[in-house]
């Protein structure tokens, strides 16, 4: 069986054109799909939209509900009769009069061409985001961020030294306003809070960052820190690491914008060089070290030599101590005697006929602090002196039976002069009230008129007396030689050996007595059995390690890194001078 289908179309001249086709079969699919026998190419038509079935009883159309209209009414299936009109999407299919021999004839009328408004409809509905252009937003975001975070912060530098192209009347105002505003934006570049001491610079980045795109130079630092010392003399740093070290900038260790502290305290930094110090400075006299508790060498003490005032001996502690570990102070002193738990003789008791007793019948027990007092900043001890510490007990009375006057301490010449004058006065008959007339000294009768010869004779007698007393002082009575080495000099006089007592034993250490005041003196300084002034009672490193450990914390111990006892900027010369010597030729290039 064949049916006749007539497609109506409009040709290019706008005239209707008819195209007849014969299609064989008994069932005909109508749809958009190309396999359909009746092909209706339009998106509004489904792939398989409807179906026409031819049987002996007639022609039927069937479709899913809502898809077709037969004669203007929706239908799921209908018998087709001549004159019926079927609406399929935009197409109209008319049932024509059946020609002979054909069961069905159809005319397919296409939709009228889409009107302009419908043509515009689709793109209008499909148009996306008409008012949100990503491109425009991106330009906006990029530009504004660049303005806020790059251009405005850098504006004061760009305007530096340039005249603004504005009238003079406003220039002064603008030249103040622009930096003030722009500085606020420059602060967005600040990576972190300045250390407390540098907060004085405020917004002035160029105080330290002198040149753009150049790291902070030491010159910026020493502009203020003029008195800072170098670490060690630069010329000693001839090793590989040493040379690398000389290139270290201040800011390599002192990193600012990291909070309120600017001091690095990491002994790894020290150990970089000091784990093999000869590698940095081949002539270094110190030994290698990485940590206080593991490999710190024994201490070196700075010892003096009273007979050679320019010599400072650096002697390392050892067990047993080396022969050099002796203090050569030219003094005689017996700590054991002075610290006798039974006490020492009291000076007042010596005049007591009953014996060595004071008013309360006791000897005086001395404590360390009776002679050793801390200095003003609590770090070292004040030097022991005759006037302050010894004289209370050790009298310099030259003739106790005659007078309790004492000779001055310190100069042999002054003593000689004083005694000659004293005895001359007595011989010449002037007797002060605090003096008992010495029996072995002839005196001039008061009121006598003396000839020149008489005077000379009297003074000679006085000199002889003075010489006798001097000999007693220096030799027989052992007043001076109790503590001093006394010898006769060429001119027949006496000479007391010069005295030098060490006050700073460890000049490179930051030891402070005040910080250790919780401890008794004897914890570290064991002098109870010392009978000689040459004995040295400086504690050794093992004593320190009883309380102190290295940089790694240990329970009940004091954590101590290098900086606990040592200062970095402990060199001889100022950093400034070293810098000028080293860097000036470089910058002059």
């Amino acid at each position: 069986m064949e049916i006749l289908v007539t497609y109506v179309s409009v040709n290019q001249r706008g005239q209707p054109q008819r195209d007849q086709r014969r299609i064989a079969g008994s069932a005909f699919n109508i749809g958009r799909g190309s396999q359909c026998q009746i092909h209706l190419p339009d998106p509004r038509v489904a792939l398989n939209h409807a179906r026409i079935l031819i049987s002996e009883t007639g022609a039927f159309i069937e479709a899913e509900p809502g898809r077709i209209q037969v004669n203007g009414r929706e239908s799921e299936g209908a018998r087709l009769t001549v004159g019926d009109r079927i609406d399929i999407g935009p197409f109209i299919i008319q049932v024509d009069a059946t020609p002979p021999g054909r069961p069905l004839a159809l005319t397919v009328v296409p939709p009228s061409p889409r009107s302009r408004s419908v043509k515009r409809l689709v793109p209008r509905v499909l148009q996306r985001m008409p008012d949100l252009s990503k491109r425009r937003l991106s330009y906006l975001a990029f530009g504004s961020m660049l303005l806020i975070f790059l251009f405005l912060p850098i504006l004061p530098d760009l305007l530096q030294g340039k005249a603004l192209p504005v009238p003079d009347s406003r220039r002064a105002m603008l030249s103040e306003v622009i930096p003030a505003v722009a500085n606020g934006f420059t602060q967005t570049w600040n990576p972190g809070p300045l250390s407390r001491s540098h907060q004085v610079f405020g917004y002035d980045c160029h105080a330290c960052h002198r040149f753009p795109f150049v790291r902070v130079l030491d010159l910026s630092c020493i502009a203020c820190h003029k008195r800072i010392k170098e670490h060690v003399p630069m010329e000693e740093l001839t090793g590989v690491r040493g040379i690398a070290f000389t290139d270290t900038r201040c800011a390599d260790c002192h990193r600012d914008h990291k909070g309120s502290q600017l001091m690095p305290r990491t002994q790894e930094q020290c150990a970089d060089c000091h784990h093999d110090v000869k590698d940095a400075a081949p002539k270094a006299r110190s030994e290698s070290v990485t940590d206080f508790v593991t490999d710190h060498p024994r201490f070196r003490l700075s010892l003096l030599d009273a007979d050679h005032p320019r010599v400072i001996r650096r002697v390392r502690q050892a067990n047993p101590p080396s022969a050099e570990m002796v203090e050569r102070s030219n003094l005689k002193f017996n700590h054991a005697l002075h610290l006798d738990p039974g006490g020492v003789r009291d000076p007042e008791g010596r005049r007591d006929p009953a014996g060595m007793r004071d008013e309360k019948g006791r000897r005086t027990v001395l404590r360390c602090a009776d002679c050793h007092q801390p200095d003003a900043d609590g770090r070292l001890m004040v030097s022991v002196s005759m006037e302050r510490n010894c004289r209370q007990c050790h009298s310099l009375a030259f003739e106790p039976q005659v007078t309790n006057r004492q000779v001055p301490h310190g100069s042999e010449k002054e003593i000689v002069t004083m005694l000659r004058e004293f005895y001359a006065r007595l011989v010449l008959g002037d007797m002060p009230p605090d003096v008992n007339p010495p029996r072995d000294l002839p005196r001039v009768r008061p009121g006598a008129l003396l000839s020149y010869k008489d005077r000379q004779r009297a003074l000679r007698i006085a000199d002889e007396k003075a010489q006798r007393v001097l000999r007693e002082l220096f030799e027989t009575r052992e007043v001076c030689s109790t503590c001093h080495e006394v010898s006769r000099n060429d001119g027949g006089g006496w000479k007391v050996a010069p005295v030098r007592i060490a006050q700073v034993w460890m000049p490179q250490a930051l030891f402070t007595h005040a910080r250790h005041s919780a401890q008794a003196c004897t914890t570290c300084h064991d002098v109870g059995k010392s009978k000689h002034a040459g004995d040295i009672a400086m504690p050794d490193i093992a004593k320190c390690r009883e309380c102190h450990v290295g940089a790694r914390a240990v329970l009940n111990k004091v954590t101590s890194d290098c900086a606990t006892c040592h200062r970095f900027h402990a060199g001889r010369d100022f950093w400034l001078g070293t810098l000028q010597a080293q860097r000036q030729p470089r910058s002059a290039k």
């Binding site: 912060p153 850098i154 967005t188 790894e268």
Partner: protein
């Protein structure tokens, strides 16, 4: 098979492994570096900091090149799917790399601004991945086989039909239909659509209102008017269904686009801030 593979599973997660490796490397370097050199606490100014920062900056530039690559249809520099997969994973790894670069140092400055912008870009990207995994399937399910264009044309046809049918009905009905017809294809703009999505799709739709009104009014009609009204109601309901379909589709499309409206401009803001960050660090070195 390969067409249904999501960008997350591209080549068995090749770029996921790459990103994890990158993060592990960065974390390892950070942990190894920190205890040996403790001049100050870790920061972006150490050599590891500079290294991580450089890697981060290069990656950001490369990630932004996806916008160029996806417009070069003829490019042979890897498949776009591969690029996108790498974009997602490498972009995520930046969270780790850049956080280690700044060593958890934050403040009110350009440096943290760049970091925050980067995080915003990445988070908006996460939403994009979520949207791309979820909404295309919903869109297909929503439209069945039809195309948007078809639905638009069908709505236009139905509109015409309804207007014709309404001609024979009272003015009241005619007015309702005209009102719906005027409004139905003025599809709400994206912003409305996005807001509606947040509001749970309760919208004042003239067509839906018209259906309700026709039902109410239709109860009064008898005879021919009643059946005509019934037909009109059927057509209007069909239109209403299609409009809803179209609206849902527009909504899904809007979601698929809206995140990019944040992602792309934010990434350009990030680029500008990154430039400022790098310049500022070395300007005041």
């Amino acid at each position: 098979m390969s067409q249904q593979q999501s960008i997350l599973e591209y080549k068995n997660g090749r770029y996921l492994k790459l990103a994890i490796g990158l993060c592990a490397l960065a974390i390892g370097a950070y942990l190894w570096y920190e205890p040996t050199t403790v001049y100050v606490k870790p920061n972006g100014g150490t050599w590891l900091g500079y290294t991580l920062g450089t890697i981060g900056a290069v990656l950001i530039l490369w990630l932004m090149l996806l916008g160029v690559r996806k417009r070069r249809y003829r490019s042979r520099a890897g498949s776009l799917q591969g690029w996108t997969s790498a974009h997602v994973y490498i972009g995520t790894s930046l969270l780790v790399i850049v956080t280690l670069h700044c060593a958890f140092e934050f403040g009110w400055n350009v440096h943290t601004a760049a970091y925050v912008l980067m995080v915003l870009v990445i988070v908006s990207g996460f939403f994009g991945v979520y949207a791309y995994l979820r909404y295309p399937a919903l869109m297909t399910a929503n439209l069945h086989d039809a195309q948007v264009e078809t639905i638009v044309l069908k709505i236009a046809d139905l509109d015409r039909k309804c207007r014709r049918m309404a001609l024979d009905l009272p003015d009241e009905v005619n007015e309702i239909v005209m009102k719906s017809s005027r409004a139905s294809l003025r599809e709400p703009r994206v912003r409305t659509s996005f807001r509606r999505r947040l509001a749970g799709d309760t919208v004042h739709c003239p067509t839906r209102d018209a259906c309700a009104a026709l039902t109410r009014i239709g109860a009064k009609f008898t005879g021919e008017s009643a059946s005509l009204n019934q037909q009109l109601l059927t057509a209007m309901t069909q239109k209403s269904v299609m409009i809803d379909q179209l609206r849902r589709d527009r909504r899904y499309r809007a979601i698929l686009e809206i995140w990019l409206v944040a992602h792309v401009p934010l990434s350009f803001a990030l680029l500008a801030t990154l430039i400022a960050h790098v310049v500022s660090v070395f300007y005041f070195w």
